[in-house]
């Protein structure tokens, strides 16, 4: 409970409590030892008090005896008065003497002095009474007796005084050395408590600063870019604890945020890459087209004029031929930048085959098997004609037998398949893979009618569909013909 409270206390409170606590302890200890040593010092001062008392007693006795002597000499009222006073004073001083039987020589001597003094006082009284009664012999006897006792008492006091002085000197030395001893002890104790205090303050400040140092190290690491820093979990509820936890939270948040940014950047860069690729392919296609642009336009206009001339001359076949040619070139011009339908692509192939057949006098036997349902499906433009052209140029040309090309369009599952089959020279597996990887691009370019090679077709299809398996090439071997099948998703 207390520990929790302490842990949750603020630094200000912790520091205040610590310093107050240590201060109080040192103060209390100081006060305690000061009072003790002070009382001892006062005892040292009192050591010789007993000697002083005995001296007073001796003097009082002397005064008393002298006053009696004075009275006996003069019988004056003054001396009587002084006798009474001295008697009173001496009695008062006697009160301070021990009268019990104890096993201490000095105390017993005190008792003896007191008892002798009482006898002496009685004798003195008798002396004075006898003097008053003018009984000369009696008072002389009493006085002699008193003087004898007086001498005994003075001797006893003197002896006791001596012994007490010896004893007191011993006590004084003991007290003095004890005092020094206690002073050393108190100094040692204070030094010890001071040291503990120092250790405590050191520990307290270390407890406070060590999380701060850790925090600053962690902050430095974060500043250097290392976000995987772990700060020791602190239970402390003070300001530093709060800062540490907030820092930990912040680092974690930053980590998450950075991860998110990374992910989105990756996504973005992938998209950008794709876009760039698409754009470059498009540009490539456009470039090809532009290179051939003068020819199609010129040809197109010229062909239109030729078709009109042939129509005027009644040459139907020529008209048809020229129209086909015109369509072919128009398609080339118009459709390059936009998507088209399967139907239009098939139409272009028809035009192309017609032109070729006119050109090569019907050498190419073209068949087609079209699923009418898929004619409206959107596909990129100029994908079918380059394949057919390829089949003509590399497949069936110069084979010496009748060249056949078959176009099949059908739907299977969610895909549209556009297949161009020829019975030409066929191709090796090596070549097939070269084509699919786009490694034969340059060769294609040189001899294509509209400048679009197979490689370009494959590239555009990949970008368009976002898939890799956009074309399949099959060939049974040399002179066994080949089949190019384009696969596009039906929903696009």
């Amino acid at each position: 409970m207390l520990v929790t409270k302490w842990n949750n206390a603020s630094i200000q409170i912790k520091l205040t409590v610590s310093f107050t606590f240590t201060l109080i302890i040192i103060l209390v200890m100081n006060l305690f030892m000061y009072v003790n040593i002070n009382s001892m010092t006062s005892r040292v001062d009192e050591v010789y008090v007993s000697n002083v008392n005995l001296n007073e007693l001796s003097e009082a006795l002397q005064v008393l005896h002298e006053s009696v002597r004075g009275y006996l000499d003069t019988k004056s009222s003054d001396s009587l008065d002084s006798y009474y006073r001295a008697d009173q004073e001496y009695r008062e001083l006697l009160e301070g003497l021990n009268q019990r039987v104890v096993n201490n020589r000095m105390k017993i001597t005190e008792k003896n002095i007191k008892a002798q003094s009482e006898t002496y006082l009685e004798t003195i009284y008798e002396t004075v009474q006898a003097k008053r009664g003018r009984n000369v012999e009696r008072y002389k006897t009493y006085y002699d007796e008193a003087t004898e006792i007086y001498g005994d008492i003075q001797n006893c006091i003197y002896s006791l005084n001596n012994e007490q002085f010896k004893n007191n000197s011993g006590s004084y030395m003991i007290l003095l050395s004890s005092l020094r001893y206690m002073e050393i002890i108190s100094t040692v104790i204070l030094a010890m408590i001071g040291c503990i205090n120092l250790v405590m303050v050191f520990m307290l400040t270390r407890n406070m600063t060590s999380p701060l140092i850790k925090l600053s190290k962690a902050a430095n690491e974060v500043a250097e870019g290392n976000f995987n820093v772990e700060i020791e979990d602190t239970e402390s509820g003070d300001e530093i604890g709060i800062v540490s936890r907030a820092f930990q939270k912040m680092v974690t948040s930053i980590q998450i945020y950075i991860q998110e940014i990374k992910n989105s950047m990756e996504r973005e860069s992938r998209m950008k890459e794709k876009e760039l690729l698409m754009e470059s392919s498009m540009r490539e296609a456009q470039l090809m087209t532009l290179q051939a642009q003068i020819n199609p336009h010129f040809l197109f206009n010229t062909l239109n004029a030729g078709a009109q001339l042939a129509m005027m001359e009644g040459a139907d076949k020529t008209t048809e031929f020229i129209e086909n040619m015109a369509d072919f070139f128009r398609y080339n011009i118009k459709k390059m930048n936009q998507d088209t339908t399967v139907g239009e692509e098939v139409q272009l192939v028809d035009n192309y085959i017609y032109i070729l057949n006119v050109r090569f006098t019907g050498e190419i036997h073209f068949e087609k098997e079209i699923d009418e349902k898929v004619l409206e499906v959107k596909v990129p433009s100029m994908i079918l004609q380059p394949i057919v052209e390829n089949a003509v140029n590399y497949g069936i040309r110069n084979i010496g037998r009748e060249g056949k090309i078959k176009l099949t369009v059908y739907r299977k599952d969610k895909f549209i398949y556009l297949s161009v089959w020829d019975n030409g020279i066929g191709m090796s597996e090596e070549k097939i893979s070269q084509i699919l990887k786009g490694e034969l691009k340059e060769v294609d370019l040189k001899s294509n009618s509209n400048g679009i090679g197979l490689g370009n077709v494959i590239e555009r299809l990949k970008l368009y569909t976002g898939r890799e398996d956009v074309m399949e090439i099959k060939s049974a071997g040399k002179d066994e013909g080949s089949e190019f099948t384009v696969k596009v998703p039906a929903h696009i």
Binding site: N155, L175, I193
Partner: protein, 338 residues
């Protein structure tokens, strides 16, 4: 951190307690605690024969502890060297409860003892009886018994050495009463008579009185005896420990060891040593323990019942060479033990 506080609190408390204990120890070193007693007796004895009286006093103190009586050795701590009579006066004026007194038997003493008795102070005379006083009790050796002990020794010596009419010198102080002197000489004579030595072989006895009031007279008087070599006695009987020591020292100094037989009194280490070496033939030991304790018992008895027996005899023992050796060995063992 809290642990630190607690540790510090404990250390501070420990230091405070330690400091208090040390202070207390220091205070106690100075402070004296006294025991309170019911009665206050004073022990007054001559300063001569200090060792003897020390033993008696120690025994009295020991007995006093049992009876809750404080026994003060009066005069010991006074700066003036008082005579026993003066000390008796001080004791009287100090209104003590009892006085154990060993001193000269004279008029002054008798007067002071009577005064004390009238004041209600019980008085016991020790070793030396104050015969004419009103003292309650006398604790000491019967002079006749003492004489018999010496007689036996003298007889033994006379027979051993085949002495005829041995000349005996008895050293006594001048305070010793005539009756006591007579009792001693009678007892010695009786010994010879009983031994059927016949009238012809009775010892020649002389009592040398030494002035007790003069501090150094004993030593001088004894040396005088030795210097008079013509009349040197065969046997010297010393009636106190100081005379014994002086005599054997003189015998050694004047090369009279063996020539003069010494019969001593009491057993200090020096006397025992001399007995063992046969410088002293034998010594009569008085039971100091008994002496001390009997004084206290007599006083206490008087206080309790109002009376006590007027004479308490103390037993004596003769110590020969063999016994002296044993006693010395015992003392040695005791010293080593301490």
């Amino acid at each position: 951190m809290l642990t630190g506080f607690i540790i510090m609190l404990f250390v501070a408390l420990f230091c405070a307690v330690y400091f208090s204990v040390k202070m207390k120890q220091v205070s106690e070193a100075d402070a004296r605690t006294y025991e309170i007693y019911d009665m206050h007796y004073v022990f007054i004895a001559d300063n001569a024969e200090k060792e003897f009286w020390n033993e008696v006093y120690a025994a009295a103190v020991e007995e006093g502890e049992k009876e809750n009586v404080y026994v003060e050795r009066l005069g010991e701590n006074l700066n003036v060297n008082y005579q026993t009579e003066d000390l008796l006066r001080i004791a009287n004026n100090s209104s003590v409860d009892g006085i154990i007194f060993c001193g000269e038997d004279n008029e002054e003493t008798v007067k002071l003892i009577n005064e004390a008795v009238h004041k209600g102070i019980a008085v016991v005379s020790l070793r030396q009886d104050i015969e004419d006083s009103e003292r309650q009790c006398f604790v000491g050796v019967n002079s006749y018994d003492l004489g018999l002990e010496y007689g036996k020794q003298i007889l033994e010596l006379a027979q051993q050495e085949e002495m005829l009419n041995p000349r005996i010198c008895i050293l006594a102080d001048n305070t010793m009463s005539e009756s006591k002197q007579n009792l001693i000489t009678f007892a010695i004579r009786d010994c010879f008579s009983e031994a059927e030595q016949g009238e012809g072989n009775l010892p020649e006895m002389e009592i040398r009185k030494i002035d007790a009031s003069d501090a150094f007279s004993a030593e001088e008087a004894i040396r005088d005896i030795f210097m008079d070599s013509q009349n040197l006695p065969d046997i010297m009987v010393c009636l106190n420990s100081v005379y014994t020591q002086c005599t054997y020292q003189a015998a050694v100094d004047y090369n009279r060891v063996g020539e003069v037989k010494i019969l001593g009194y009491y057993s200090t280490e020096a006397i025992l040593d001399a007995v063992e070496k046969r410088i002293i033939y034998s010594t009569v030991q008085v039971d100091t323990q008994e002496m001390g304790s009997q004084c206290i018992r007599a006083l206490t008895e008087y206080h309790e019942s109002g009376y006590t027996s007027s004479y308490v005899p103390i037993s004596t023992q003769v110590i020969g060479s063999a016994e002296a050796k044993r006693l010395l060995q015992e003392a040695e063992v005791e010293d080593a033990g301490n």
